[in-house]
């Protein structure tokens, strides 16, 4: 059974039809990168996977359970899905350690000691064991994003969602975050990553999904989608991303 299965997903904001029938699956242990132009609906798709956005039509199955069903225990489903946001969204009033324990103690009912042990372990995994008692404001963007990853990992998720995790970072801080994500992928974590980092997608992804205007245009192994795209829209997009100075010839 696929870890995530999405069927015929439609989402509109008012008259803006953002997702126009998305079908796709993520298998256990798979790393899937979603690429596509800005405004194509990548974030919306990701946010439908843990129902931060409620689709108007279609189903999202997590481990076979339809989380769009109104009788589904949504909070229980969300515990299995970690999410990392472009803007980090750390809790500014809590220390780094408490950021990583607050959901463990309130949602999973772990004891304070157990939660702190797990938080320290995950912070160690992202290379921030020395920042345990710092507050988010005292950290660089790259460190904050790594805390956000540790916060999500502390809940032992089966799937991690990343929404452009490095887009808000200064260029010299991008590498640290990508290194952590690469390690996570090697450890076998199932990951769905929206990104503009083509080198990362090429290297780490098992599958790349190209989205445009609310539909999946093509998907497949990175060598095919990025290295040898079939669709003209994919080629146009990649030309623009890989060579920003390139000027389209006017028809």
């Amino acid at each position: 059974m696929a870890l995530v299965e999405i069927q015929n997903l439609h989402k509109s904001f008012g008259s803006n039809h953002v997702l126009r029938g998305i079908d796709f699956t993520v298998e256990e242990g798979e790393v899937v990168c979603v690429i596509g132009p800005s405004g194509s609906g990548k974030s919306t798709l990701l946010r439908c996977v843990n129902l931060l956005e409620v689709p108007q039509q279609g189903q999202v199955f997590v481990r076979g359970e339809d989380i769009t069903d109104r009788d589904c225990h949504l909070d229980a489903a969300r515990q299995q899905i970690g999410m990392v946001f472009q803007q980090f969204n750390l809790f500014p009033h809590l220390s780094v350690l408490d950021n990583c324990t607050v959901a463990q103690t309130t949602v999973l009912k772990r004891s304070k000691a157990a939660a702190e042990q797990i938080a320290r372990d995950t912070l160690d995994r992202v290379g921030l064991s020395d920042k345990v008692s710092a507050y988010p404001m005292q950290l660089s963007g790259g460190q904050q994003q790594r805390v956000a990853i540790a916060r999500a990992l502390s809940m032992d998720p089966a799937l991690m969602l990343f929404d452009e995790p490095t887009s808000a970072l200064d260029p010299e801080l991008v590498g640290d975050v990508l290194t952590v994500m690469r390690k996570l992928a090697l450890d076998g974590m199932t990951m769905l990553v929206v990104t503009h980092e083509m080198a990362f997608a090429r290297e780490v992804a098992d599958r790349v999904v190209f989205m445009d205007a609310g539909v999946i245009v093509e998907q497949g192994p990175p060598a095919e989608v990025i290295g040898n795209p079939k669709e003209e829209r994919t080629r146009t997009f990649l030309r623009r991303v890989l060579d920003p100075t390139h000027v389209e010839p006017t028809p």
């Binding site: 843990n50 931060l52 909070d75 229980a76 969300r78 515990q79 899905i81 970690g82 999410m83 946001f85 803007q87 969204n89 750390l90 809790f91 500014p92 009033h93 607050v102 959901a103 309130t106 949602v107 999973l108 404001m137 956000a148 916060r151 999500a152 809940m155």
Partner: protein, 274 residues
């Protein structure tokens, strides 16, 4: 050289600094005139006699001023707690997805913010007449806390609602994505940040509450329950001298001035954090 050229020439004669100096000089002159006129026309010995007579200051202290001071603080503190709890509840109701809760909270807030506080106090003074067997516990505190707290809750609700809405949406999304139910996310993530945001305006509400506690004497409490204004007024009446009331007035400043400093410090701290 024409006439207008001459005027321009003359204006140029005064530099901006010189003009500023002249303006300041005029302001000082006006001030000195006012002070001199006041000094010669007012009957200072009588003013001192009526408002600042030392022996009445002393007698105020010996006949219950410290107790009244304490009552003012107790009344204010209790009302603040009620206002804070009630205000938080009302703010959450205003933001509730359940429409009737929103209507109820809006009606309450608009009603008590539109009403002069003194009307509420007059109403409380008449309650025992209307309901003969009504007993509000913790007399006199219960009545006072309720009367002050009911109005304070309406004001604080709006402040707290604004604070809750100022917490970025991403905070709720992060909390919910970790599997926190809405209630837990509100308690653990949203409210702590909202209260940090509204701390300066809440401290401001506290200052207003200190002053509003002076309306308590309208309820008609017994002498033992007098706060500063009630006490000062009573003693000023029996002594036929305003000194006790002035003394009570200064006691308010002892409370409100440090609170005012606290507000400014909190505001500066909040400004630094952003």
């Amino acid at each position: 050289m024409t006439v207008s050229d001459a005027v321009v020439e003359k204006r140029r004669g005064l530099s901006p600094r010189q003009r500023a100096q002249r303006s300041r000089g005029i302001q000082y002159a006006v001030l000195i005139v006012i002070v001199v006129v006041a000094a010669f026309t007012a009957n200072w010995s009588q003013i001192a006699e009526v408002f600042f007579k030392p022996e009445f200051v002393k007698s105020a202290f010996t006949s219950g001023l410290p107790g009244a001071f304490l009552k003012t603080i107790e009344y204010t503190a209790g009302a603040f707690v009620i206002g804070l709890l009630g205000g938080t509840l009302l703010a959450l109701m205003r933001l509730s997805p359940v429409a009737p809760y929103r209507w109820l909270a809006t009606a309450y807030i608009e009603f008590f913010r539109g009403l002069p506080a003194i009307v509420v106090f007059v109403a409380f003074s008449l309650l025992p007449l209307a309901f003969a067997d009504l007993v509000i516990p913790l007399d006199p505190y219960g009545t006072v806390w309720l009367a002050l707290g009911i109005v304070a809750a309406a004001y604080m609700a709006e402040v707290i609602r604004a604070g809750i809405q100022a917490v970025p949406k991403g905070q709720i999304e992060a909390a919910r994505s970790l599997g926190m139910p809405a209630g837990v996310a509100t308690r653990k993530i949203v409210l702590p940040q909202a209260f940090r945001i509204v701390l300066p305006p809440l401290a401001n509400d506290l200052i207003l509450l200190v002053k509003d506690s002076s309306l308590v004497f309208i309820i008609g409490t017994s002498a033992a329950a007098y706060e500063l204004t009630g006490f000062g007024r009573d003693l000023a009446n029996t002594e036929s001298n305003l000194t006790p009331l002035v003394t009570a007035g200064f006691c308010y400043l002892i409370i409100t001035l440090p609170l005012g400093l606290l507000v400014r410090w909190l505001e500066a701290k909040a400004a630094r954090a952003h």
